[in-house]
């Protein structure tokens, strides 16, 4: 685990255990003797839901907790805000140890720190979309006018403006979950808990929602804990992933760490089913650009740059490295022969372009018959590097071997 860097820790979970049953002490005793869940169940009739969980949640990250059903992931997320009472352990958020809070402090803590999105949406059917989005603020006693405003804003953020007066039953599943998301966002709690939030949606909607969550998360930097049983989902949205099995953490790390260095057979088997090309992003196959042309360059200068570097085409950039387009050798040669003194008329725009986070499998489809390398640009359209077909193939082969 690489938990020790200086990034701010938002929530610190230490030694968290949960026993379902009437004699938790007995079960924990057996656990301390090294017994596992099935044996404890057989001997005491108690279910060891979670055993000795340690992890940190960093400020602003999207942490995915992943596991199959029965792994304890839903129990874990509910222990954080004590919808389920933990049996032992510490959960420290901003200096407050949640299991030790009294009832009043707990309410306050839930209101300030946690908002939650549920698998089955759990929208209030007798309230409108607007009223649902206001709920967290209403509970806190925020006055009407300001909570209306916040709810409107968050509905707008999830793309539901115009639906304020509808009832949840009038919306599709995807839209209902947007309401669930808006309800959580409006609350402006410091941590967002998402319990299998997209699992009930059909696959296409689900992909959209994942993308939107990523964008939202990127924009708002809201600390998010996301529960899922789907490794593909975990990989595509998680900054870090914690893998649970039988109530214990089996591995935690970035998606790439988990996929390329599975901690044990269990993780490895899990990982086998994953489409590896999705794991790697453009960033990992990107190369620095060997040469670029400036938009003010003359044809002869550009021809020299191309022949020096053995290129058939060259990307043209403006003053602050913003990408303007591409020119190819035939056009430049013709312009040179015609005695033109600038290449600005030759710049073409039909070249492939992607961001550094673009998954590898998407890149593959981008190569055209002209075989221009893919330009990788940042949010401000500045050229970061290029990806050539060979590099993609190489990475994919590498992934296949691991």
């Amino acid at each position: 685990m690489t938990e020790t860097d200086e990034t701010n820790i938002k929530i610190q979970v230490r030694g968290l255990s949960k026993v379902f049953g009437s004699q938790p002490k007995k079960a924990l005793e057996l656990r301390n003797q090294g017994k596992k869940r099935p044996e404890i169940l057989e001997k005491t009739g108690q279910t060891l839901g979670l055993s000795n969980i340690d992890f940190d949640v960093r400020e602003g990250e999207l942490l995915v907790i992943m596991g199959l059903s029965g792994s304890g992931k839903s129990t874990l997320i509910r222990c954080l805000n004590r919808l389920i009472e933990p049996t032992e352990g510490d959960i420290v958020i901003d200096g407050q140890n949640i299991p030790k809070l009294n009832e009043k402090e707990l309410l306050e803590c839930r209101r300030r720190h946690f908002s939650m999105v549920f698998q089955n949406f759990a929208l209030f059917p007798h309230k409108t979309v607007q009223e649902n989005a206001e709920y967290g603020l209403e509970v806190r006693g925020v006055e009407k006018s300001s909570r209306v405003q916040s709810a409107r804003n968050s509905l707008k953020q999830v793309g539901l403006d115009g639906w304020e007066d509808a009832y949840p039953s009038q919306l599709s599943g995807g839209m209902q979950q947007r309401v669930g998301l808006a309800r959580a966002l409006a609350n402006d709690a410091t941590v967002m808990l998402m319990d299998e939030a997209f699992s009930a949606l059909d696959p296409l909607i689900r992909k959209d929602m994942q993308q939107e969550l990523l964008e939202l998360q990127h924009r708002m930097k809201k600390t998010t804990i996301f529960i899922t049983h789907d490794l593909d989902e975990a990989i595509s949205i998680g900054d870090r992933i914690i893998l649970l099995k039988d109530g214990e953490v089996v591995q935690s790390g970035t998606p790439e760490e988990i996929l390329t260095r599975p901690a044990d057979d269990y993780v490895a088997r899990f990982v086998e089913g994953v489409d590896m090309s999705r794991v790697f992003t453009a960033n990992s196959a990107m190369r620095p650009v060997r040469a670029t042309a400036r938009d003010g360059d003359g044809p002869r200068t550009v021809l020299r740059k191309m022949s020096d570097n053995g290129l058939d085409s060259i990307y043209v950039i403006g003053r602050d490295r913003t990408l303007m387009g591409i020119v190819n050798v035939d056009d430049v040669d013709a312009a040179a022969k015609a005695g033109k003194d600038t290449i600005s008329e030759l710049i073409q725009n039909d070249f492939p372009k992607a961001g550094p986070d673009e998954p590898m499998n998407n890149l593959f489809a981008m190569f055209t018959e002209k075989s221009y390398p893919i330009a990788i640009v940042d949010d401000n359209q500045r050229l970061l590097g290029v990806v050539v077909k060979g590099a993609v193939l190489e990475k994919l082969a590498e992934a296949g071997e691991h």
Binding site: F118, A122, Y135, V139, Y167
Partner: protein, 281 residues
């Protein structure tokens, strides 16, 4: 053959208890009696003060607004028949008793219902009590009512409240318990207090079920109010009672039909209130 087991003096014990209550709490019962009597008279006088056609119009409009025009027309026809048969005043008396008994029953039932929904222990305690209250033959409640409140309408209300309260309690409990757990969890997750959950989530969501209970309560109250004629309650019941004593089946059926009309109107109105009106965006 006859083994000599002494008869358990159950009846004597109950009588003793009732005697104790009547002799020691006569102030209380007299107080309740006068308050209730005042309420009955006020409502009755109010309804009587309105001319027949005006009350008919009001009821018809209520029927039309909460249900539909058909029920409104039905109300006019039914009430006109009652008026024509000369049963208007007894009908008003019966309606008064039903309304007051229902209001009292519901006001008492709500907290019990809510508490039984929250506490499993209280639920386990009150359910057999409700079974007892509902299966005990209705007439039996009339007997202790008399020593408490004397012959007349107050005794009728007392017996009616006891007899008609169980469904209001049961349905309130059922309604609140039926609220899906994930909604409760959502409310909890956002830090709602118990009261906030009850008022903002559980109560509104169980309203249709609670209304079904109130509907049942009204129907039971109506049937009991009629029977209560035996202890001197006014209204349609006493018309029936008189017809029995004079062996005049025609009069009896006329009063009976008036009861049926009243029952149908009350039932349809409360049924219609149950269905949440669809709002569209």
């Amino acid at each position: 053959m006859a083994i000599d087991i002494p008869r358990i003096p159950l009846g004597d014990a109950i009588e003793g208890g009732l005697d104790f209550l009547t002799s020691h709490y006569s102030n209380v019962t007299r107080g309740i009696s006068s308050v209730t009597q005042t309420g009955i008279s006020a409502l009755n006088d109010g309804l009587m003060w309105l001319p027949e056609w005006a009350l008919m119009a009001i009821i018809a409009v209520i029927c039309w607004r909460v249900a539909n025009l058909k029920l409104g027309i039905g109300a006019v026809l039914g009430l006109a028949l009652i008026w024509n048969l000369g049963l208007w005043d007894p009908m008003i008396e019966t309606l008064t008793l039903v309304v007051i008994a229902t209001v009292v029953a519901v006001v008492i039932a709500m907290p019990f219902g809510v508490f039984a929904a929250i506490s499993d222990r209280f639920y386990g305690f009150i359910m057999p009590v409700l079974d007892f209250m509902q299966t005990m033959p209705a007439f039996v409640y009339l007997i202790p009512a008399i020593p408490f409140f004397g012959i007349g309408s107050v005794s009728a209300i007392f017996a009616t409240v006891i007899f008609s309260m169980p469904p209001a309690i049961r349905f309130t409990t059922l309604g609140i318990r039926q609220v899906p757990n994930d909604l409760i969890e959502a409310a909890d997750a956002f830090g709602a207090t118990r009261t906030q959950k009850l008022i903002k989530i559980q109560f509104p969501l169980s309203l249709p079920t609670i209304m079904a209970g109130i509907n049942q309560t009204i129907m039971l109250a109506l049937s009991m109010v009629v029977i209560a004629a035996m202890i001197g309650a006014d209204g349609l019941g006493s018309e029936v009672w008189r017809a029995i004593q004079r062996l005049r089946p025609g009069d009896g059926f006329e009063a009976g039909i008036a009861v049926v009309i009243l029952a149908m109107l009350l039932d349809r109105i409360t049924q219609a209130l149950r269905k949440p009106r669809k709002k569209t965006s």
